[in-house]
């Protein structure tokens, strides 16, 4: 897709933030125009990476569940085993989001279980994953 969506949104950001916004009278309209410009910048960042971020998170969570399932019996163990080896088929961002939500619900159960059992190694592995995943999802803005 050319021009690339990221480029289009970046140019729209520049037009609104640098030209159209400042031409408005100071106040709510001008402030909102600037905020909308920043939104375009953020969505531009997200466009290219959104699917990859979600697909990677889903892959890492399934691998984590596969390892954790080896030491967990009962319903939770069965739930964990059920997602091992599954692959994302719907590669739209909304489809990946749905799978991501299901996996995160299971991750909350697993993390709670690890805390209750004092399984420090599993707790740390989950926390490191959450920290890395959160870093990947952060949006970086230039100081304005």
């Amino acid at each position: 897709m050319k021009p690339s969506p990221e480029l289009v949104l970046n140019q729209a950001f520049a037009k609104i933030a640098m030209e159209m916004g400042p031409a408005l009278p100071p106040g709510y309209g001008q402030g909102s125009a600037t905020t909308m410009a920043v939104l375009l910048l953020m969505v531009g960042q997200e466009f290219d990476r959104a699917a990859e971020i979600r697909a990677k998170e889903n892959r890492v969570m399934r691998a984590l569940f596969g390892d954790a399932a080896k030491g967990i019996d009962g319903a939770l163990g069965a739930e964990l085993n059920a997602v091992v080896g599954v692959r994302d088929e719907d590669m739209t961002v909304s489809g990946l989001d749905r799978a991501n939500g299901d996996l995160k619900r299971l991750l909350i159960e697993l993390q709670t279980h690890a805390e209750q059992k004092g399984n420090r190694a599993l707790e740390l592995r989950i926390l490191r994953f959450l920290s890395e995943a959160a870093a990947a999802r952060q949006v970086h803005l230039p100081a304005m």
Binding site: S32, T35, L107, L130, S131, A133, A134, R137, Q138, L141
Partner: protein
């Protein structure tokens, strides 16, 4: 705007008969403050001349469930004290004037507010503003709720229960408003319940949103007004300190809010408040600050997604602020777990 202008003129004629005939010279909506619609109104009074007023009107939907009564009472609680606030004039619950409840304040003129996205929001006045900012926060911590206008509007809380009351309140917001599972926030909630802070040294007025962006300063670097008191409540004064020190409030992470270093800020606050910022307690309130922030951003994202409030700042909160606080919380939780064998 013309209809609103006419409504304001009718209202002022009713509310301020001593001013004689009143006309509106300028009316504009102020950007920011997504919890309320805020209008700057310049009026000309037959008796009294020109005057600046601020109208804060309830929105159709709010960023957080706030009480205008609480905010108005908070302003009244600090008028004429060492905590600078605009004069709070009238609170109107009737819908006949502006279709929604609102209150009116004096405009604090010739001032500006800092931006959390600014590289250096206070420039040459950084030190001066930082010292005032944390001194004023210390003065807020000195204010007892029981003797303030707020007493009738906020629930009482005990020193050993302040943390729990706040955590429960914001956990409920996450429960009700999350659009997708939030493993980091859920882990933070469990951690905070397993590791409660020591009891509050005292219960005081807590501003609830004390940060860069929520106060006005003039060209000499003097802080002239602390704003946005809608989340004011009775609580542990360390709650406000943890919130003010949160790294989201400045792009300069070494200087919370774009002002002092964290260490200097705590020293100034301790001196002004006469309280100690116990490291264990402040560590808890530091986690809580990022958690509460995330809860607010979740709520605003839901409002935008549901189109009940399409102010772009609501989308910004969900897209920028929530990932920021998620990362911050994940790192704090990881550090805490790594520190314990």
């Amino acid at each position: 705007m013309k209809e609103l202008e006419d409504r304001i003129v009718r209202y002022l004629a009713h509310r301020m008969p001593e001013a004689g005939r009143v006309s509106v010279i300028a009316l504009s909506r102020i950007h920011g403050g997504a919890s309320r619609e805020t209008f700057r109104v310049r009026i000309d009074q037959e008796r009294g001349g020109e005057r600046g007023l601020i109208f804060r009107r309830d929105p159709i939907s709010t960023l957080i469930e706030t009480e205008r009564e609480v905010e108005f009472a908070a302003y009244r609680s600090f008028m004429g004290t060492a905590v600078p606030v605009p004069g709070a004039l009238y609170l109107e619950r009737e819908l006949e004037w502006l279709e929604r409840p609102f209150f009116v304040m004096e405009e604090v003129e010739g001032c500006t507010a800092g931006s959390i996205l600014a590289a250096d929001p206070y420039g040459a006045h950084r030190q001066k503003i930082g010292e005032q900012f944390f001194t004023i926060l210390g003065n807020i911590a000195k204010r007892d709720v029981a003797t303030s206008d707020l007493a009738k509007h906020v629930p009482a809380v005990k020193a050993d229960d302040a943390w729990q009351a706040e955590l429960t309140k914001w956990e409920k917001v996450v429960d009700e408003d999350e659009l997708e599972p939030q493993p980091i926030l859920r882990a933070a909630i469990r951690w905070m319940r397993r590791n409660p802070p020591p009891p509050a040294q005292k219960i005081s007025v807590v501003h609830g949103d004390y940060r860069t962006g929520n106060f006005l300063f003039d060209g000499t670097g003097a802080i002239r007004a602390v704003l946005d008191w809608e989340m004011a409540h009775a609580g542990d004064p360390l709650e406000d300190l943890g919130w003010a020190l949160d790294p989201l409030w400045s792009s300069d992470r070494a200087h919370p809010g774009g002002m002092l270093t964290r260490e200097s800020a705590i020293q100034v606050w301790e001196k002004a408040s006469g309280l100690k910022a116990d490291p264990k307690a402040l560590a808890w309130w530091t986690v809580f600050a990022s958690f509460k922030g995330a809860a607010i951003w979740i709520s605003s994202a839901k409002e935008f997604q549901a189109a009940t409030n399409t102010d772009p700042v609501m989308a910004f909160s969900g897209l920028y602020c929530l990932p920021f606080h998620n990362k911050r919380l994940a790192d704090l939780l990881l550090q805490a777990r790594e520190a314990v064998q």
